[in-house]
């Protein structure tokens, strides 16, 4: 019998780290990290291994079992998201550890920061392995709450406004969700997602509940037109925070929508799937166009998130139309590669901002040599955002377009492709800066001296960004294991035979 408690450990480690971090001091941060990051990675590996070994499983925490205790529900999707969380948050932790902005905070604020940091991590981990609708609400709200406070660590009043707006809108989404869950419970008498699917009888109350759940989660996932909280929040938070918010917290909304709409809500028909797809498509175009006109790097990256999340929603119509395996694989590979790429992009942007004090595009070009590696990381991440090979984004788009072609819905393919080209425009606006011969530094063989007014960037922060970027590109080659993992426990669409697992 395989030990199934790895999932619980993967949740517990960051939560314990959140507690431990409350003890102030830099060494605490280092020590906690030295334990928590490898610990979480190890636990995640355990989860992945377990899923590979025994497939989908439930782990009753403390042995109580549902419905009294809390059951952890782990399938390939959950394991993949856990792994993503561990990798992204782990590398981002390195960045935060070396981030001069964080180091400049007072000690108590630093410890608070770290505590909240692990809190988000723990909340997300708990959410991914949660099979219970209400637990999801709690974890969702915890992640939001911790995220909000982390955003408020950013510079100036803009960050405060952004975090309050994020809090209010996020809570609106969470409450809408919980209202929906209440109605669902009223209709079915269960909170367990699997049981819910079995017991769900479509009726007016269920329809209202589904609408509330869907729209509430859409807010969390920043689906256009409910995305307006995202750019200011992600644009003004500290770099590491923006990274995990954009890479993971937003994806959580999508993750839950997948859980519901490829789970219990399947019986509500394809219409909503198409609507979600259309909104996603609008999001792709709208987010990209807005990203193109941004003058600030972090806002550009933030709007790019709005666009990239839009792609994910194409999963619903594609899966509904039968392009199941391809769409499922593609969309989730896109989640993985986009999360890593977006985190890399935010960390790179943060490095530039920290060093130069501004992230206005017109200013960055003046010190491009100094930001070389950061821009390289951004460029690599950009390849994924554009969907260019050899990156995970490319393969993901290939799969999704194939799904669109196979199901005869070429218009979704058009969205994917046009979005890629728009992404190329905004990525290009940044990447070209890396090649400007800058007037601030006379080029010379001995390497230019640091221009005045630029702060040094710790190597660790750069490496964290580069590492994430490399992961996102590498997913284009090493995509077989994650794709295999993702297909474990993949909800079967009617009439589609799953590929046999090797």
């Amino acid at each position: 019998m395989v030990d199934t408690s790895w999932a619980a450990i993967a949740v517990a480690v960051p939560l314990l780290a959140a507690l431990a971090s409350l003890w102030p001091g830099r060494w605490t941060a280092v020590a906690v990290m030295a334990v928590a990051v490898p610990g979480a990675l190890l636990a995640t590996l355990g989860v992945v291994w377990t899923v590979y070994e025994i497939g989908v499983y439930r782990h009753p925490v403390g042995g109580w079992g549902a419905p009294l205790g809390i059951d952890l529900y782990v399938d390939g999707l959950a394991a993949a998201f856990l792994a993503l969380l561990a990798v992204v948050a782990g590398l981002a932790s390195l960045h935060v550890l070396a981030d001069p902005d964080v180091k400049a905070m007072p000690r108590r604020r630093q410890s608070l920061f770290w505590s909240l940091w692990y809190w988000v991590w723990g909340a997300l981990a708990a959410m991914f392995v949660s099979g219970d609708a209400f637990n999801i609400y709690v974890t969702l709200e915890l992640a939001t709450l911790a995220g909000v406070i982390l955003v408020s660590f950013g510079h100036g009043a803009v960050a405060l406004f952004a975090s309050l707006r994020y809090l209010l809108i996020g809570t609106l989404g969470a409450l809408s969700y919980v209202l929906g869950v209440a109605l669902l419970y009223g209709a079915t008498g269960t909170l367990d997602l699997v049981l819910l699917g079995e017991r769900l009888v479509p009726g007016p109350a269920v329809v209202v509940a589904a609408a509330l759940v869907t729209v509430g989660l859409a807010i969390k996932a920043a689906l256009v037109p409910l995305h307006i909280w995202l750019p200011p929040a992600h644009g003004s938070a500290p770099a590491g925070v923006s990274a995990i918010l954009s890479a993971l917290v937003v994806k959580a909304g999508f993750y839950l929508l997948v859980r519901y709409w490829l789970g219990p809500f399947v019986s509500l028909g394809d219409g909503v799937a198409t609507a979600l797809g259309i909104l996603g498509a609008v999001g792709v175009l709208w987010g990209s166009l807005n990203a193109i006109r941004q003058e600030r790097l972090k806002l550009l990256v933030a709007y790019s998130t709005v666009a990239q999340v839009g792609y994910l929603f194409l999963l619903f119509p594609l899966a509904a139309a039968g392009g199941h395996v391809m769409a499922w694989s593609g969309a989730h590979l896109l989640v993985l590669s986009h999360a890593t790429a977006k985190a890399a992009a935010f960390l790179a942007a943060g490095n530039i901002l920290t060093s130069q004090g501004t992230d206005h595009l017109s200013e960055i070009g003046r010190a491009s040599h100094h930001h070389r590696l950061s821009l390289l990381a951004f460029g690599l991440a950009g390849a994924t955002l554009m969907g260019l090979p050899p990156s995970g984004g490319f393969l993901a788009k290939w799969l999704m377009v194939t799904a669109a072609v196979e199901t005869g819905q070429w218009w979704w393919a058009a969205v994917l492709i046009i979005g890629g080209k728009l992404a190329a425009i905004y990525v290009y606006r940044v990447v070209r800066l890396g090649f400007v011969t800058s007037p601030m530094e006379p080029p010379g063989a001995a390497g230019p001296p640091r221009p005045p007014g630029l702060l040094p960037v710790p190597m660790l922060t750069i490496l964290a960004a580069l590492g994430l970027a490399v992961v996102s590109v590498g997913l284009g080659f090493a995509s077989a294991p994650p794709l295999r993992l993702l297909q474990i426990g993949m909800p079967a669409a009617p009439g589609i035979a799953l590929e046999p697992l090797p």
Binding site: S176, V206, V207, A211, P225, I228, S267, A275
Partner: protein, 586 residues
């Protein structure tokens, strides 16, 4: 393995070119040595062809009855010209590039003579043509530049005509061997196209009528030794090309044959007429070459038209081909001697000059066909060929050929007058043995080479000396000389008489403005093409304006989305939307 020496024919001059580049002092010597293998092979030909399947697309070199006299001519002329050039260009500061081009041209010229396959022939032809540009351009003055420009334009045009003909032939033959190509052309559905392309493509080199315009320009400006080979051998390349590519002895094309004959005769008369109206010795000689090439063109025409018949057609055509070759050898040596002698007149004065002019009369008379020169034999062979190949044409062709001889006589009389006149340029130095020696050798060769048994078969050679043919040959010379004398006596000898002079290149003077106009038009068109990309710039501007406009709208809309009432309204609408759709879909 004696056939392996054939490889030396084109490669020895290539090495000489390299030597001339590296050791400029001995450029002429290298060129001289480089011509030796050709002469030797012409005298002692290998009995087999050299097959080099690994080279290019497969190279085959060889010497046959057709090529042997021409190889002899080419080898001797290049050799003698090289020796001559050694002395002639002793003081020339630009002798280094000259000998490089000289040797390269030689390589091409000799190579095409021994080429048995189309690619090697074409390669040699191109090499010769392009390198000759350097010879013509050598003087570097405006006249030379003009001549070179006209030359290169025609050469490129010629390539453009030759290539498709070669491709068509080689494609149909599925082989590169010239013999196969000829056979394929004989049966090709596009035969007229190919023959036409060949006529004009190689006609440029052979000085065929409307395409001759480069010759009178090029010969006077090229250094004398170069002119000698240019006129003596290089223009024969066009002739040889006709002989090896046209389906001679494979098919009878009377129509094309007639065209060739007509063009040939026209060139013979036209060249004589225009040549008489020139006032520079080398220009006169150039026109003489055009005129003489006309006669060889007639021979090709005869071969082309040779009446078909079992066994007879092929033999007849071969006779006509040999006539062309014999004539080429005769003319080549004579013209070489004339050119080299003309060069000598610039370097001599007084008595020496008189001697030169007197000796120059010998090849001149030979060209006119005066007995007992090679000219007589050549003309006899040509006449025989007419009789064998196209008896039907004989009764009008013979008189016309005789008339051409009158023209030749007149032309050469004019040459002698011009060359005896005051020297065009001051003599750079006295002529030593370095100039005299090769020239005299050329004279000797001109007198003797054609009598070699493999050039003129014994039969026609003996036949040439029968009384009838002697008389036949003599009267045009006499008439020509008489006319010349009369013209001189009653017209030119008067004081203040001014001869009519036609500018060298005759119709070129008319063509040049047209050419310039075309060039300008071409340039303008091309330039307009270059600015065409700019034409689309307005589209970009319109797009840009539109994008800016759209961006403004975008900003406003995004800001409006960010207001709370709209957000909450959006939330509500979405709820409604999802609800309605789900309600309908359940």
């Amino acid at each position: 393995m004696s056939e392996a020496v054939l490889m030396l024919v084109p490669t020895a001059p290539l090495l000489a070119a390299l030597a001339a580049r590296l050791v400029p002092r001995h450029g002429a010597l290298a060129a001289t040595v480089a011509a030796v293998p050709s002469v030797a092979l012409a005298l002692f030909p290998p009995d087999r062809a050299l097959d080099l399947p690994w080279l290019l697309l497969g190279v085959e070199l060889g010497i046959d009855a057709l090529r042997r006299p021409l190889l002899l001519l080419a080898g001797c002329l290049w050799l003698l010209a090289a020796v001559y050039a050694r002395a002639y260009h002793r003081a020339d500061p630009r002798s280094r590039p000259l000998f490089v081009f000289f040797s390269l041209t030689m390589s091409g010229n000799l190579g095409l003579v021994v080429a048995f396959d189309a690619v090697t022939f074409y390669l040699s032809f191109v090499l010769m043509n392009l390198s000759a540009y350097g010879l013509i351009r050598h003087a570097g003055n405006a006249e030379a530049r003009r001549a070179a420009k006209v030359y290169i334009v025609l050469v490129i045009a010629g390539e453009g005509l030759i290539l498709p003909a070669l491709w068509l032939g080689a494609s149909a033959a599925d082989s590169l061997a010239l013999a196969d190509v000829r056979a394929a052309v004989a049966a090709h559905p596009l035969q007229s196209w190919i023959v036409g392309l060949l006529f004009f493509g190689f006609g440029i080199k052979a000085g065929a009528l409307p395409l001759h315009i480069w010759l009178p320009l090029a010969h006077p400006v090229a250094p004398t030794p170069a002119s000698a080979v240019l006129s003596g051998m290089m223009i024969k390349a066009g002739l040889l090309a006709w002989l090896v590519f046209l389906p001679l002895a494979e098919a009878s094309l009377p129509g094309w044959g007639l065209a060739w004959v007509i063009f040939g005769l026209a060139a013979a008369y036209y060249g004589a007429l225009m040549g008489v109206l020139q006032d520079r010795p080398k220009t006169v000689l150039a026109y003489s070459s055009i005129s003489q090439m006309g006669l060889m063109t007639v021979a090709v025409g005869l071969a082309l038209a040779a009446a078909p018949g079992p066994a007879h057609g092929a033999e007849a055509a071969k006779a006509a081909m040999m006539a062309a070759v014999v004539y080429a050898v005769h003319h080549g040596f004579a013209k070489g001697a004339l050119f080299l002698g003309t060069g000598l007149t610039d370097h001599t004065s007084g008595r020496g000059r008189l001697v030169v002019v007197a000796l120059l009369a010998l090849p001149a008379l030979a060209l006119a066909g005066l007995p007992p020169t090679t000219g007589l034999a050549a003309k006899a062979v040509l006449k025989d060929a007419t009789a064998v190949a196209m008896p039907a044409w004989q009764n009008w062709l013979d008189p016309l050929l005789a008339l051409a001889a009158v023209g030749t006589t007149l032309l050469l009389a004019r040459f002698l007058v011009v060359v005896a006149g005051p020297a065009a340029n001051s003599a750079p130095g006295p002529a030593g043995f370095g100039l005299w020696g090769p020239w005299l050798a050329t004279l000797a060769a001109a007198a003797g080479a054609a009598w070699l048994p493999f050039v003129i078969p014994a039969g026609p050679a003996a036949e040439a000396f029968t009384a009838g043919s002697l008389a036949d040959a003599a009267w045009p010379v006499a008439v020509g000389a008489g006319v010349a004398l009369m013209v001189w006596r009653f017209f030119l000898a008067r004081p203040r008489a001014r001869p009519i002079v036609v500018p060298a290149g005759d119709i070129l003077v008319l063509l040049e403005p047209v050419g310039r106009c075309l060039e300008k038009m071409g340039r303008d068109t091309v330039r307009r093409l270059g600015t065409m990309d700019g034409r689309w710039a307005w589209l970009g501007h319109v797009l840009l304006v539109y994008v800016r406009f759209a961006e403004g709208r975008l900003c406003r809309l995004e800001r409006r989305l960010a207001s709370w009432p709209i957000l909450v309204a959006g939330f509500g609408m979405l709820l409604l939307l999802v609800g309605v759709i789900a309600y309908n879909g359940r």
